[in-house]
């Protein structure tokens, strides 16, 4: 069970430390000629995203837009790099010492923005605060952790193989224990202090959240002097913002909005692989859908490549499973179901539906176009969908409700497992005791338990393979696609996101 993750400083880190000085000068020059709005001599990177944080206490933030801001203020123990490798951040090495212990070695010489040193006490404080029910955190990933011991050990009540991945984002933000004790939770949220590459400056709600470069960051000073976040819930505002040079980067554009930017010569659209998986959950207890032949027929009927090119403007990759390609456990040998309407019709006739059938289908209005396209493709093989398209809030509420029938016989969903371990999505959508699951299979539950609690990676990979073969045969989902991330940016910024899509601006030039 030696599972030491690799962990000398990466090539990229070493490079950055050496080159930071010269890049800084270059960034200063290019920033000067960028925009009239920022002529005061500092280079500010202006980012628009759909929403802003609900608050600045990282343990109380569970939304990605909020974390996009916080990840610049706080460092995590580990991190995903742009190649999607899990790399050292505040932890330099980590290993499982037995089934119940993960040991992390910490980076030395790191200080918080107020000068407080970062050490094992910070880790103990941060993780134990996160898992303490009194904190009211909604971040569930670390629920297997029992406590932290200061020989740099994280002790688990249940074995958990994914701890290093889970401390790469929401689960791993490090807070200063002493400062927190001084100012309390409210005081801390009003002016958060982390060890991250940027420090908090000010926040005027619905207007501007300002961060400034932290000169003493252990990984070198970032190229931009400031980062400004603005929430622009209306996509048209964000587009006008980038077209009129009021912002430098717009995140989370949907493919249709991105189309409108074509032809603007100063604005470039970049598309990066993303990990949000889209699939349709089929109710395997429904009187018609309990027949696996019908579920396979639906998969044969939907032409996903056509869906991606016609509806998503090619902004996605076909999926054979509900696990993203980049996640641990993805099995490249499992192929997407063949798109074959004749086979679909044959299977449906076999199952006694030669005259067609009608199914109810629920989706959020964010996915309206995809839903309508699906309905059209299924109509071709004799399956009529009764569409119920809901406002996103209502849809989210029904997803979380105790009544599975509120979402009809099938529903379209998107899921982002930021730990990038296949187990997270499988848990939520397959384990029989989960609200979103429409599957009652003891066999599948057993496999998920094994995935969740086995430390040995080879044994886990074997179970992942069995699990995906099971998915392929049983077809409890309509497998669709893995969505890309779309950004619009101008010439002032050069930046590559990592696959989980967080707006960590340390590497922006």
């Amino acid at each position: 069970m030696s599972m030491t993750a690799p962990h000398a400083p990466t090539r990229r880190t070493a490079l950055r430390l050496g080159a930071a000085g010269s890049l800084l000068g270059a960034a200063g020059l290019t920033a000067g000629c960028g925009s009239a709005a920022h002529s005061e001599g500092t280079s500010a990177l202006r980012i628009a995203q759909p929403s802003e944080p609900t608050g600045l206490d990282p343990h109380l933030e569970s939304g990605l837009d909020g974390m996009n801001v916080l990840i610049n203020i706080f460092d995590t123990l580990t991190m995903r790099d742009t190649e999607n490798e899990l790399v050292p951040r505040l932890a330099t090495h980590w290993e499982a010492t037995d089934e119940h212990h993960w040991r992390f070695r910490l980076r030395k010489g790191v200080t918080f923005h107020n000068g407080e040193p970062f050490d094992a006490r910070s880790v103990k404080f941060s993780i134990e605060r996160l898992i303490d029910p009194d904190t009211g955190s909604t971040i569930v990933e670390l629920r297997s952790v029992d406590h932290v011991e200061i020989i740099d050990d994280i002790v688990m009540a249940e074995p958990d193989p994914v701890i290093p991945e889970k401390v790469s984002l929401f689960g791993g933000v490090m807070l200063p224990a002493d400062h927190f004790a001084d100012v309390g939770a409210k005081g801390f949220a009003a002016h958060p202090i982390g060890t991250g590459p940027f420090r908090f400056v000010s926040w005027r709600k619905a207007q501007l959240l300002r961060l400034a470069a932290y000169a003493d960051h252990w990984n070198g000073r970032p190229a931009f002097d400031e980062v400004h976040f603005t929430a622009m819930p209306n996509p048209a505002s964000a587009l006008a913002g980038i077209q009129s040079d009021a912002v430098d980067l717009v995140s989370a554009l949907d493919p249709e909005a991105a189309l409108q930017l074509e032809g603007y010569k100063d604005v470039s659209l970049t598309t990066h692989p993303g990990i949000r998986m889209y699939f349709v959950v089929l109710d395997t207890e429904h009187e018609v859908l309990k027949d696996a032949r019908v579920r396979r027929a639906l998969n044969h009927a939907v032409d996903v490549p056509l869906l991606i090119s016609a509806v998503l403007n090619d902004s996605g990759r076909e999926a054979a499973t509900i696990v993203p390609r980049e996640a641990f456990g993805y099995d490249p040998d499992v192929k997407p179901p063949e798109r074959d309407p004749d086979e679909a019709r044959r299977l449906l006739a076999d199952a006694g539906h030669a005259d067609g059938l009608t199914l109810s289908f629920t989706a959020s209005n964010k996915d309206q176009l995809v839903s309508q396209a699906l309905a059209g493709m299924l109509e071709d093989v004799g399956v009529t969908l009764e569409l119920e398209i809901l406002e996103p809030g209502t849809f989210a509420e029904r997803l979380a409700s105790d009544d599975p029938s509120s979402l009809g016989s099938m529903y379209l969903t998107g899921s982002t497992g930021w730990t990038l371990d296949g187990e997270a999505t499988m848990q939520s959508y397959i384990r029989s005791d989960r609200k979103r699951s429409r599957i009652r299979s003891p066999e599948a539950d057993e496999m998920i338990d094994a995935l969740e609690q086995t430390i040995d990676p080879d044994a886990r990979l074997k179970t992942f393979r069995r699990m995906q073969e099971w998915l392929h045969d049983e077809a409890p989902f309509l497998f669709l696609y893995q969505a890309d991330q779309n950004f619009a940016s101008n010439k002032r910024i050069e930046w590559t996101p990592n696959v989980n899509g967080t707006l960590a601006m340390e590497t922006a030039r």
Binding site: S51, T54, G55, L60, S62, P133, G136, T138, I139, V140, R204, K205, A206, Q207, T230, A231, M232, P233, N234, A236, S237, A240, G241, Q243, S244, D245, A246, E391, P392, G393, T394, A396, E397, R398, L399, A400, S401, S415, A424, Q427, S428, R434, K435, R436
Partner: protein
């Protein structure tokens, strides 16, 4: 005289009581409707939250208590001007609202100013040059303004001045330049309504005896307008301006969305989509109070402008 004063006092008290009744009705409707719209906990928790987490969060937010109790608590809080804490931001609703009032007030006040100035000009020109080509041009403009949806005007202004000409900021807040496009967008409908009304009202007043007398005495057209007609013609205009202030606040919700303006309108929309009950209730209380106060002010201004109203109170 003292009988008149008692009567005025009684009218004022009745007025105040009925205002409170309206306020109570408004907040009650919102209380009921917002709870009928669904459960915010689903939106606040991550996808795979456990039943324990849901129960704990409901308890923390006080949403597990019987509705009548929640309602009484809410009314009790209102009396003390305490609107509770926002579910999303975990901060007092009053302070979140107070933070956003200046932006909306600035936008609505600027739009109102534009409305008054432009409609005074357009209405007077129309009345004094009635039937001429100039009048027809102004009135056609007014008709276009009245029949064009504000959000569409807003988007056109953004495209023209923000994106194509880059003369004005397309969205945001902070400098006077940021104010121009949203305030214009917001004012367009009101300008149309008020200019038309002022024009017809002026035409009517200018036909009356005392104005004819003034003209006969040799007063200039400008003096007839300023000294004799405007004051009388402005009575219905003030009522409509009061109503328009209401629609400006309503219009601010759309305009603030288009221009990313950090005011009450955007706060309301965000609160509704997050099912943030206390915050939705708070913004509705604010809207209701504003309407009530504006109506009172309109009534009062009658009494000041037209002495006849005072004696009939």
């Amino acid at each position: 005289m003292s009988r008149g004063r008692t009567r005025l006092l009684r009218a004022a008290v009745t007025r105040l009581l009925s205002s409170l009744l309206v306020l109570w009705a408004a907040v009650t409707v919102v209380f009921v409707l917002s709870r009928a719209s669904g459960d915010p906990v689903a939106l606040l928790l991550p996808d795979d939250a456990s039943a324990d987490q849901v129960a704990q969060m409901k308890q923390t937010l006080g949403l597990d208590r019987p509705l009548p109790l929640q309602y009484l608590d809410f009314l009790g809080g209102l009396v003390h001007l305490d609107l509770g804490d926002s579910l999303v931001y975990k901060e007092p609703v009053t302070s979140l609202i107070i933070e956003r009032i200046p932006a909306t007030a600035l936008l609505a006040a600027t739009a109102l100013l534009i409305t008054v100035v432009v409609s005074f000009l357009a209405g007077s020109i129309g009345a004094m040059r009635r039937g001429t080509a100039l009048d027809r041009v102004v009135m056609s403009g007014v008709l276009v303004g009245q029949s064009t949806p504000a959000f569409w005007v807003g988007i056109l202004l953004v495209l023209l001045f923000g994106v194509t000409l880059r003369a004005l900021p397309a969205a945001g807040y902070g400098t006077p330049a940021h104010l121009i496009l949203p305030a214009t967008t917001l004012a367009i409908f009101s300008v149309a309504v008020v200019s038309r009304l002022l024009r017809s009202s002026l035409i009517e007043v200018m036909g009356q005896d005392h104005v004819r007398t003034a003209r006969a005495k040799g007063a200039s057209e400008a003096r007839v307008l300023m000294g004799h007609s405007l004051r009388n013609a402005s009575m219905p205009v003030i009522t409509v301006l009061g109503l328009e202030l209401g629609s400006l606040l309503g219009g601010a919700i759309l305009t603030e969305q288009i221009f990313n303006w950090p005011g009450i309108g955007r706060l309301t929309i965000d609160a509704i989509s997050a099912r943030d009950f206390p915050l939705v209730q708070g913004t509705v209380v604010l809207f209701a109070v504003t309407f009530i106060v504006v109506n009172l002010l309109v009534d009062l201004s009658y009494a000041i402008i037209d002495p006849r109203v005072r004696s009939h109170a």
